[in-house]
Symmetry: C2
Subunit: 270 residues, 2 copies
């Protein structure tokens, strides 16, 4: 009886540790030391957790073999579940009260809500899991929450490019880029933030023509880093002369019209 | 046997759900419906989880009685553990290679690392748990990661004030404030972001004289919102004419000197 209780506790604590550390490889020895049990018992527990997680759609428990091996929790969810979540979010976004002057859509309350930014950030991470990025990059400010959560799911650092030069960044690399409304703007990044050869995933909240993303890619080129992909939360449809085409989005905004109170936004087709 | 297995799974899944939703009250009925068991069994499971969490320092499992009752996971950790974590972080921050021209300290790599921002954000949340804020407020850009994590731990939205007016914020409230170097600057916030009477916790990464915090407090006054406290990650010591004094910090920066390669930073005494 006592032993059984201990197993329930052990599995519970392992689930807590795995949930709190998505994307991180945790060596079996961490658990066997913590609970003073044989690695074979931990291995059985992990198998049990994997089955439970599979059965209840709680994510993927991956076993990595070898010297730097262990167990990793990848917070992936079923595509149909993700689609349902995005559909519900789209219906919240389609509230005519969100339409601003100039036919912009107000959504910063949603992307700065921790539970929503986590869900969206994790969905983007899921799409780039196999690309194994070394870090995630975004640009201030509205992209930060989502990108931080993507970085969390992948267990990599986040790097934030700036639109203004900050003295606290130290030496910087900067590039000029052409904004959507045809102005020349500057973005910069601390030289310390990304190493040569690092594999970088670009994440942003919104994409219209893609000029900002293009600017970030240029920063990566300047730093001899590798651009491994781009994910955005919302892409605007009906854009002429888009400057980049290789990206994924979670939702597509087809129309915002203040006069008729219309917002047409839908989950992007996979 | 089958039943016992089920209990291990049930407790494991409950731990996963609680861990993934810090600060949120989850009604017992959510679990009893999900697992098709009596509320009394769920109640026993919760007691078991509470004991395990206490024994292993995994956080607080709080039972809330009444109509809107249920169970809430508060990710609080022991003060001695927090102090140890901050001491280790201080020794990383004290690396002379982090000293920038002008005796600034480079730390944005650390505060944008998801695991560090989560730990620091949760520590700040812990200090304001009993104040029950309705939302967390910060100002772009470097405060966003920490503040998002504080908001996550408290299960409340994050609101981000801007140093530049953005068209996608809609109608704004703005105030002028005097910066540390005696310039007049403007900060603004979307009118939609905070409601009258809301209890707001201000979080920022760094505080010198406190002029930015003072500006945020002024924004709150303009919105008829209630300022319930201020938490910063790092406060600078030896500041003359500090404009605010009622705040808490996690670490205190006593000295940065590029010439001698000195960085003196320590956990703030409780």
């Amino acid at each position: 009886m006592d032993n059984r209780m201990k197993r329930t506790d052990r599995i519970g604590i392992m689930i807590k540790i795995l949930s709190d550390n998505p994307g991180r490889i945790i060596p079996f020895s961490v658990f066997s030391d913590k609970f003073s049990v044989a690695k074979s018992s931990i291995s059985e527990d992990i198998m049990h957790i994997r089955e439970t997680f599979e059965a209840f759609g709680l994510g993927e428990i991956e076993t990595i073999i070898g010297a730097s091996g262990g167990v990793r929790y990848n917070p992936v969810t079923a595509p149909c579940e993700n689609k349902k979540y995005l559909e519900e979010l789209c219906s919240r976004l389609a509230d005519p009260g969100r339409i601003l002057t100039g036919d912009f859509l107000y959504y910063s309350d949603l992307i700065f809500s921790p539970s929503i930014s986590k869900k969206l950030g994790y969905m983007l991470a899921q799409r780039f899991l196999s690309s194994r990025p070394d870090c995630v990059m975004t640009i201030e400010t509205t992209g930060v929450a989502i990108a931080l959560m993507t970085a969390q799911a992948l267990n990599v650092p986040l790097v934030v490019a700036r639109k203004t030069h900050r003295i606290t960044d130290g030496s910087i690399i900067s590039v000029n880029y052409l904004t959507a409304d045809k102005h020349v703007a500057t973005m910069s990044i601390s030289k310390r933030s990304i190493q040569k050869g690092q594999r970088v995933l670009i994440i942003d909240d919104f994409m219209q023509g893609g000029s900002t993303i293009k600017g970030m890619r240029e920063l990566l080129r300047e730093m001899d880093a590798i651009d491994i992909g781009t994910g955005v939360v919302i892409e605007s449809a009906n854009v002429q002369n888009r400057v980049i085409n290789d990206f994924i989005s979670l939702m597509t905004l087809y129309k915002v019209d203040k006069e008729t109170g219309t917002v047409d936004i839908r989950p992007t087709e996979l």
